[in-house]
């Protein structure tokens, strides 16, 4: 397994022989296909961090994240979400599929 990118809490790996990716979430390591990685990126980058600082929009500052067609469920706090956003942006940058750490447009 090759490390693509590592943030404070998470690591994205590429497993060349299996033609897939792994994300180490700390509590568990999740195996993901490329399509699932695209889906995770979309979900994570779509999360509005501003809402975490608005008690009306997001009372507890938590996000419930369902990944890989409901196979995994994570409850993440603001810092973890920011970290995961960084993993997605920098991960795609390091894989050469992104030229700029871009924000997902609505």
């Amino acid at each position: 397994m090759n490390t693509i990118y590592r943030t404070t809490y998470y690591t994205l790996y590429q497993a060349t022989s299996d033609r897939c990716f792994y994300i180490d979430f700390g509590q568990k390591v999740v195996r993901i296909s490329f399509c699932q990685l695209l889906a995770i990126r979309h979900k994570v980058l779509s999360i509005s961090i501003e809402d975490h600082f608005d008690s009306e929009m997001n009372k507890h500052g938590l996000e419930v994240l369902q990944l890989c067609n409901k196979k995994h469920l994570f409850v993440l706090n603001t810092l973890e979400i920011l970290d995961l956003k960084e993993l997605m942006e920098q991960g795609f940058l390091h894989m050469g599929l992104s030229a700029t750490p871009g924000v997902l447009s609505a």
Partner: protein, 172 residues
């Protein structure tokens, strides 16, 4: 290191995000034209109603063209949420003027994706959008011509009915 990600997708993620927004915009245009078809029908502009019904179908085809491109490129197209469709128009002129505004907004959006694709070196996306760039020139021209016809005809007397009949000239 073998590049599994590059093997998975032929375009840049920035392009994919923008094309997904464009899918939404085309879907919004399709729904807007359907609302216009409804308005025209209810207000006695039956030819214009057919015109907008057809426009609505064309916008959906545009959306599917982008959807298919994203699939072909190994990307992940998203089915759009479409909300906030306006059903209120002051007049038939208002309908066509809104249409032109809408088409201009779409043109700007397409141009923006072309520029962005160029910036990130995504030649496939840039080439794919060639068709859309030319399609927008044509669509804007059609609506401009209809608006010209409306101002020549005038809305007095039987003007409105003449306008509606003439709209038929722009249906294929």
């Amino acid at each position: 290191m073998k590049d599994i990600a590059r093997q998975g997708m032929s375009i840049k993620v920035e392009s994919m995000d923008l094309l997904n927004s464009q899918i939404k915009m085309e879907a919004h245009a399709s729904a807007t034209y359907l609302a216009m078809a409804s308005w025209c029908d209810q207000n006695g502009f039956f030819t214009s109603a057919k015109f907008f019904r057809k426009q609505s179908e064309e916008e959906r085809e545009h959306m599917m063209k982008i959807f298919d491109f994203l699939i072909d490129a190994g990307g992940s197209p998203f089915s759009p949420e479409v909300t906030g469709i306006n059903h209120d128009y002051a007049s038939i002129v208002d309908v066509f003027e809104s249409t032109l505004d809408h088409e201009i907004a779409v043109t700007k959006s397409i141009h923006n994706i072309v520029m962005k694709a160029r910036e990130v070196g995504d030649i496939a996306t840039e080439r794919f959008l060639d068709w859309f760039v030319m399609e927008q020139v044509e669509e804007e021209n059609t609506i401009r011509d209809i608006l010209d016809m409306i101002s020549v005809t005038g809305t007095e007397g039987v003007g409105l009915q003449v306008i509606d009949d003439h709209v038929g000239n722009w249906m294929d």
